[in-house]
Amino acid sequence: METIKNNNIFNALQDIYAGFQRHELWLALGWLDVLSKYRRAGLGTFWISANMAIVSLVLGYLYSTIMQRPIQEYIPYLTVGFIVWNLLSALITEGAQAFVASSAAMKEIPNPPPVYVYRVVWRNIIIFSYNLIVYVLLILAFQINPFPTIFLAIPAFMLIVLNGIWIGLLLGLINAKFRDMFHMLNNIIRLTFFVTPVLWYPELAQGIRGLFVSLNPFYYFIEILRAPLLGSYPSIQIWLVTFAITLLGWTITIPIYARWRTKIPYWV
């Protein structure tokens, strides 16, 4: 017996878990999203890596002189930072569209809504992996030794994914009702890129400007993955902040999701 009408937290958690269980579906959908973008192109999905390589080389070459850093240090720094930034920003902007973009499916087939969040997250993990090819080429080319810190990249990455899920659930839900959200987010993200140490180094923001770094959650999430990939340890403060944000995010998301999840099909 299944009764279709519940608003409590237990059911929301069940929903999130049931969505995860439909992994065969969202894995396929995520893949298809990536695949369909590059279908009929000779290079196929490797265009993702190629794009990243071009950006990193051109920007790295130019900005290394502006930043007055040696090119073999600056290009890997920029590239890894940029790859992580791309992942984070996509999790936010695409996460906000998770339900809206899948509205046809949501009105059609009774799958738990989190399926469409997992789909977005998985899609971006795939893109991230293609970008990592550039990373591997760079550490070989510039002979950077990421060991043993690279192992820390694994929990760091998991943490980011965990955040990607609550962001998708929360923003996806809000954006389903208030579509201005997406446009607002796009603007904020574009601006944030320039105030987040991706192109520049955090220690360059001096005095009061240091707040752009210390109060910027993006900084922590970039650093937590960038540092181990480039062979250094993220500070304990970075771990604490990212853990705290993850915890806070889920704590806020679950009751909100539980309260309004059944309304999503009406809104999209």
Binding site: M1, E2, T3, I4, K5, R22, E24, L25, A28, L29, L32, S36, R39, R40, A104, A105, M106, K107, E108, I109, P110, N111, T262, K263, P265, Y266
Partner: protein
Amino acid sequence: MIKLENVILDFPIPQKVKKLENKKNVDQATGGMMGTQTDGKYALRALDNISFTLQPGDKLGLIGHNGAGKTTLLRVMAGLYAPTSGTVTAEGKVTALLNLSFGMDPEATGYENILLRGLYLGMSRAEIKSKTECIADFSELSDFLNLPVRTYSAGMRARLAFAVSMHIDASTVLLDEAIGAGDAAFFQKARQKLDSMVSGATLVFASHSNQTIREICNKGLLLEHGKIKAFGDLDEVLNTYEQRTQMNQCSIANVPSKKGAFAGLSGKDHIKKVLLVNDTGALSNPGCKAVRKAYKLLFERHIHKAEITKSIPVNYWVEDFREIAIPGKETIKREADYFASGVETTGNIDLEKWESIRKNLAVSDQELQLAFSETDLVLLNGEGSIHHNSVRALALLALAKTAIEAGKKVLLMNATIQDIMPDLIKDVIARCELVHVREAASQKYLAQYGVDAIVTADLAFMALQTDTVIKALILDASQYVVVTGGVLSNEDSLNQIFDAVQNAGLRSVYFSVGDGGETELARKLCAKRNVPMVDAFEYAIHKPISFLKQFPLAISGRHHINVFLMRAGVPFVPLPSNTWKIEETLKLVNYPIQPVKTYAEILPTLQEVRENRDKLSQICQDSYLSGKASVDDLIGKIESCV
């Protein structure tokens, strides 16, 4: 099993829509009801207090106009929309096939799309893999499955999608207009698959095609403005739907019409608006259509002072009288070796109860009050229902009395009146402005109680005059006899008829007018006996006369088909009915063959008719003309009365 209890579903409405000035227009345009929710927000009530339960094996057809809430109801049952209040309980897996083209990637190949759609529909990869071959076979797409779906035609896509959807193991299947895509052969295959797939499962099917619903479903649910208007036996629900549709059409397509010029001369106010209260059961029945047409002709072409502007069915009032009415089976006499016929008299009914039920209905039926307020005259079609104190008779007479009490002039027309409580005759029929019956017997019967009735042949005689009679051969009909059983027919009597035809060295073709259970019975029997069957519904025979004309002989248990046969000049063996209408009409128009009473009489009567075919064919046409002439006289009488 799937169970809905008091399901209400409100769609929130965006701010901007709030300012709509004419709320009523929105109601009509959307089919939903605009209203304010308890918390002050505006909402569109898409579903209003829906409760019903379906058992395994039930095949429910959802019927209703665009926007009546069919798709929303499917979505609620599928668990896509959570109801605003109420509960949906489902046992087992529920699968919804709402949109066949959904879940397809045009760039992916057919095989990849089988996987994708399968996953969407909740199958696992392993399950899909094991079924892929079966799905591929079913889709008949073979090598195309290796090509991207964008290269497919629309029909091929639908096939693929349908093939996948049909291979899900679900205990409840929800379908929205899904089938009908693709070519006819595939459609047939899809239907068969659907049949086998849902034999043990529950099916809910929403469609605009009554025909498809008839073929697939055994139950019906009529939705109107998000409310259940009827639920239960499919034929009854479809009938109600057709009546409602006709009612709306009649009330929309009203006023000036042909009489525009006339109205200009004498002032529009002089045209009396007529409310037609229609008691016929099946609106697609060609006979009922002919009578409706006759009313239209009478009031639109011949009587310049009145016009039918609205029509309402009697059906709504029927259920309430069931408890006091004489049950249908008590009005029919069945004896071995005899055709069923009517009994002479039935018992008394509780008239006080009748009056109290009537009063309750009169107060609560706002639709009727509205109809009264919009019209000047009430025209009661008394065709075939005022007999044996039946439930329909009680409902019709109650409506008539209500109209009289509302100060309306009531014209009771085309009636057969037989075995009704004398008090009802004095109380209602005697107070009608005009009583028109189809038989001398009815006239005589009423005269006993001091009611003067006009008698003519059935109004259907009038409506056939414009139907062009062409001999349209659709098969070599010379060795066939067209057979139509009446409402009284049963398996035994039909078998006897088929046997007699066979013994005469001829073959039967069954012509069904799709009335109630008769169609089902005939369908089964015809399949068993290998008799071709033509359903007036299924083949939408707009010109039944042309169809009938191709046959040399007929055996008919239907009063109106008799009229058609006369018009077509096809000699026929009549069967009895449970009222006077058949015998008396034949007498009235001088048709020489009287209804056969026993099974033993069929064969000799058929042979007699066959031998005198040419002479009888001429007599048929004379009968038709005499019937028509008697009806034409009616025009003046109504005119003076209006």
